[in-house]
């Protein structure tokens, strides 16, 4: 039982950290202009990649 709880906790942490860390650090930092322009392309790239198996 505790194994499962630990597993649950670990999985939650693993999916939460990649969302939180960039928000936490990058929102305090001034980013170069080319990087911001590159980030603009991300939504189109991610969503079309998610459509791939279809």
């Amino acid at each position: 039982m505790t194994d499962y709880l630990l597993l649950l906790l670990g999985m939650g942490l693993v999916t939460y950290l990649p969302r939180w860390l960039p928000l936490h650090y990058l929102s305090r930092r001034s980013l170069p202009e080319w990087f911001i322009q590159w980030l603009e392309l991300i939504p189109a790239a991610i969503l079309s990649a998610l459509l791939l198996p279809a």
């Binding site: 990649p18 936490h24 990058l26 991300i42 991610i46």
Partner: protein, 156 residues
């Protein structure tokens, strides 16, 4: 590895969330999903959005997800397989979200390039791709509404 896309998504969002409260930011991070990201980012980009509104979007979506999952777990057995074209609903949603993102020509180019890139003609890739298609065909041929496209791929 697939989860690394959330790193990219959060990075893209971070551009618009300067000087945001750290606690709210941590709460916000909990609700970053493909769907809420696709809704929030164009709003932030149009400069008519705030963190509090984005928080509402994220957690309303999360709550709906949670309730629907429980409801589906209990009531899912009453829905026949392939009924109402449900298989297609998720794909349709992602297509809508993708169209929502394309504001400039460069975005369209990125989407197309990404697709071409993904469907690389390597021997292992194409075999996996075919296998997946065959699996889908088998599933569909048993269903009630096989579409034209699916029949065409079945014949191959």
């Amino acid at each position: 590895v697939v989860n690394l896309r959330h790193v990219l998504m959060s990075s893209a969002l971070a551009v618009y969330l300067r000087a945001a409260h750290r606690g709210l930011l941590a709460l916000y991070a909990y609700g970053v999903t493909d769907e809420s990201f696709a809704v929030n980012l164009p709003r932030f980009n149009a400069r008519d959005w705030s963190l509090s509104r984005a928080l509402v979007v994220n957690h309303a979506a999360n709550l709906t997800w949670f309730i629907s999952t429980v409801a589906g777990g209990i009531g899912g057995r009453f829905i026949p397989e392939g009924a109402l074209g449900i298989d297609y609903a998720l794909i349709a949603m992602f297509i809508c979200l993708l169209i929502y993102q394309i504001r400039k020509l460069i975005h369209l180019l990125t989407a197309v390039a990404r697709r071409l890139n993904c469907r690389g003609p390597g021997p292992i890739d194409s075999r996996q791709y075919l296998y997946r298609h065959r699996f889908r065909c088998r599933r569909h041929s048993g269903g009630n509404h096989p579409t034209e496209v699916d029949e065409a791929t079945c014949e191959q």
